[in-house]
Amino acid sequence: MIGRRFLSRTAVLALAITLAAPLAKAQWVTTYETFYLQAPHNWTFRDTYQHADRLFNAFDYGHAILYETLWTRPDAPASMLEERIYDRLTKHILVKPPHVPLDENAIEPMYAQLAPEAKAMFDWSHILHRQIYDVLADERLSDAEKDRAVQQLISYYKTRRDLAFSSKPKSMELMQEQPYSLAFRQKFPKFNGLIWGYHWFQVGLYEPLLVGRTGVERQAGVRATVARFWQMLQDPPHTLPYQMPMTAAIAPEFAKRYPEAAIIFDNLHSMHDVVSDILANPSVPRDRKRAEIVLAGARFRDDTSYVMSVPAWLTMSKEMGVENMGGPSVNFTRELPTPTVTIGAVMHHDRGTGKMTGVLVGQMLNMSHDGMAGMDHTAAPAVQPAVAATGHEGHVMPSPAAPARETVDHAAHGMAAMPGMAVPAAKAPVPSPTSVVALRLMLQDPVIRRRVLADSALRRMLMQSLDSLSAADRAQLQRLLTPPRSRRQ
């Protein structure tokens, strides 16, 4: 009798262990922290640029409270993040930021339990971020010594292969064209813009430290960049970035001098968006979110998934348009640049070349370049005819959000394989008077005109859009859109 009871209990125990083992294995995480690289430049940026440094402490809070809220309050109304927390961040915490870097475990304890590996990746990369500021802020170091110190930091960063983001550029497909993608930016456009504003500042601040020739110039440059960040908060989301800030666009000098670091930071910031999307997208079941985050982390760490060449990455960064990312972080005009896409628009880029091949979600706005500080007019994107020049004025919110693409298979990332993808219908848009003037001015620029004329699809679409104009305007623009040889004929 006793023997039978013992056997049955043993069997139940064995069954329980068998069933629990996979769960325990999936949840048994052994990641760990490593101390930052000890060096004489430690905390120099904090000591020298306190006003800017403290903003990073506030950013720590903003990132962490975002993830904690998305994970613990999935049914909360959008206003919780878009209004209540956003206001708290921008009116209180950024105004009076914490005096030391924050321990994010204390802010996002439940998120930290969900994906400690991803959190450790972010923490490790944020250490690299901060240590590079220290190097560039250290007036005792020559340029060559700074270069060596940054290289040493990158080498140290890479010693943690289990945490380090790849220093190979990753295509935006990894961020924007996954089944869960875009959920965050569509539900929380303002908060998403704030996060992109943080990222603009985090990579942008390297630039004044690099281009300043003296300590005084660097101080002035950092102050100006800080002021520019505050300017972005004036009328959210319109004044916040419309696209993820790419380091090569925001801080080109930094990206040129330290391309590996720039790529790492772009990958880091992409993954921030990916985690937000996974958490915000209800089509990812709660018991799958950890697995998706871990998978995304692995893809961002390896050197093979969604990789593109450095030249393609530079091209992609350029074609996304610095004016859509908040503009350059130094030598900017007084006004914020005018974006050329709707908020959170998704461009598709050729992974081989980085060239934009179309807009998957959202729209290109009229091609007014007024105030587009830093825009390279020689690199106008080749716009898909169906989505270009819609005639919207200035800042326009996205048209009704694209359907979630949760039905898309993980392996399918091409446009054709995304049935839910929104591509606006092809129709002749009606340009506004302002955009007509802007278009005329643009086409009078010989460089722009040559490029537009070289793009038959764009030219055809623009020609179609002229139908609704007055005869005088139409004639003038038709002349500008007609190749010289054709006119002679």
Binding site: L23, A24, Q27, W28, V29, T30, T31, Y32, E33, T34, F35, Y36, L37, Q38, A39, W43, R46, Y61, T72, I93, P98, H99, V100, P101, L102, D103, N105, A106, I107, P109, M110, A112, Q113, L114, P116, Q152, S155, Y156, R290
Partner: protein
């Protein structure tokens, strides 16, 4: 009796099992409460407990001061080693006495990071016989630690067992040593803490029971509260107060200290 109370007050001075970490949120045993979390010092990190001061007052009014400078190092992933040398000053009828209360060596190994599974750690230490107030022989101990985080608080549970022969009160060194927390036969307790993240401030409270190694003494209950604060990126400060609820001394203690974090130089070559 007075002599015994004075010696008993040493327990709060020689509270030795330190496990350092470099920021306010990662608690260390004794800084300011005894019950600690499961996490180890960061790899390659060093932490110097510069001057953790502890003042205790036993029933009868005897005061004891103590300082335990210690150095911890993140030797390997989730693993730290530490050495501490507690120094005590005991107030007595015939004047005070100062002496070392042993040398404390310890290792802390964090098994996992918290997910749905709590974080666990094991620690092993030995209090070596050294100094005027040190134990008569080496006493090894082992400890199990668990940390579970909830939205607003963390719960830490510690259980420690010390090996070695039981002691009897009688001779001064033995009596003193027997009152050391290191020389409890066992300790078991729990702590709750709550972080005020934007201020980098941690509030903590604990309760634990300990069975002295002295076989003549009963289980003693203790409680304590404290704060940890991140003063600067490298500096974490702490302060606490507690008391033994029962037992012969029913001592009060106050503690305050600061830890300085730094790392070792590293080269890619």
């Amino acid at each position: 009796m007075m002599h015994k109370l004075i010696l008993a007050s040493l327990l709060t001075v020689a509270a030795a099992p330190l496990h350092a970490q470099t920021d306010y949120y990662n608690t260390d045993a004794g800084r300011p409460v005894l019950i600690e979390d499961a996490y180890a010092l960061e790899r390659r990190g060093l932490e110097l407990q510069v001057a953790p001061v502890r003042l205790s007052r036993a029933r009868g009014g005897a005061y004891t001061w103590g300082v335990e400078p210690s150095l911890a190092y993140g030797l390997a992933p989730r693993t730290q080693i530490e050495i501490g040398v507690p120094v005590a000053y005991v107030d007595g009828r015939n004047g005070g006495a100062t002496g070392i209360s042993g040398v404390d060596l310890s290792m802390h190994y964090n098994l996992n990071v918290e997910t749905r599974i709590p974080a666990f750690a094991i620690a092993a230490g030995v209090l070596l016989p050294a100094g005027r107030f040190g134990p008569p022989r080496a006493y090894p101990s082992i400890k199990g630690i668990m940390t579970r985080t909830f939205p607003d608080v963390r719960l830490h549970v510690n259980a420690q067992y010390t090996f070695g022969d039981a002691l009897t009160s009688g001779s001064a060194p033995v009596g003193a040593a027997s009152q050391s927390l290191e020389l409890s036969r066992w300790i078991a307790g729990a702590a709750l803490d709550h972080a005020i993240a934007l201020r980098s401030l941690l509030l903590t409270a604990e309760v634990y029971a300990r069975k002295p190694l002295d076989v003549t003494e009963q289980v003693e209950w203790n409680s304590g509260v404290g704060v940890r604060y991140q003063l600067a990126p490298r500096w974490a400060m702490d302060a606490g107060v507690g008391r033994a609820i029962n037992g012969p001394s029913q001592a009060w203690y106050l503690t305050a200290g600061g830890a300085y974090a730094f790392g070792l130089p590293w080269s890619a070559r």
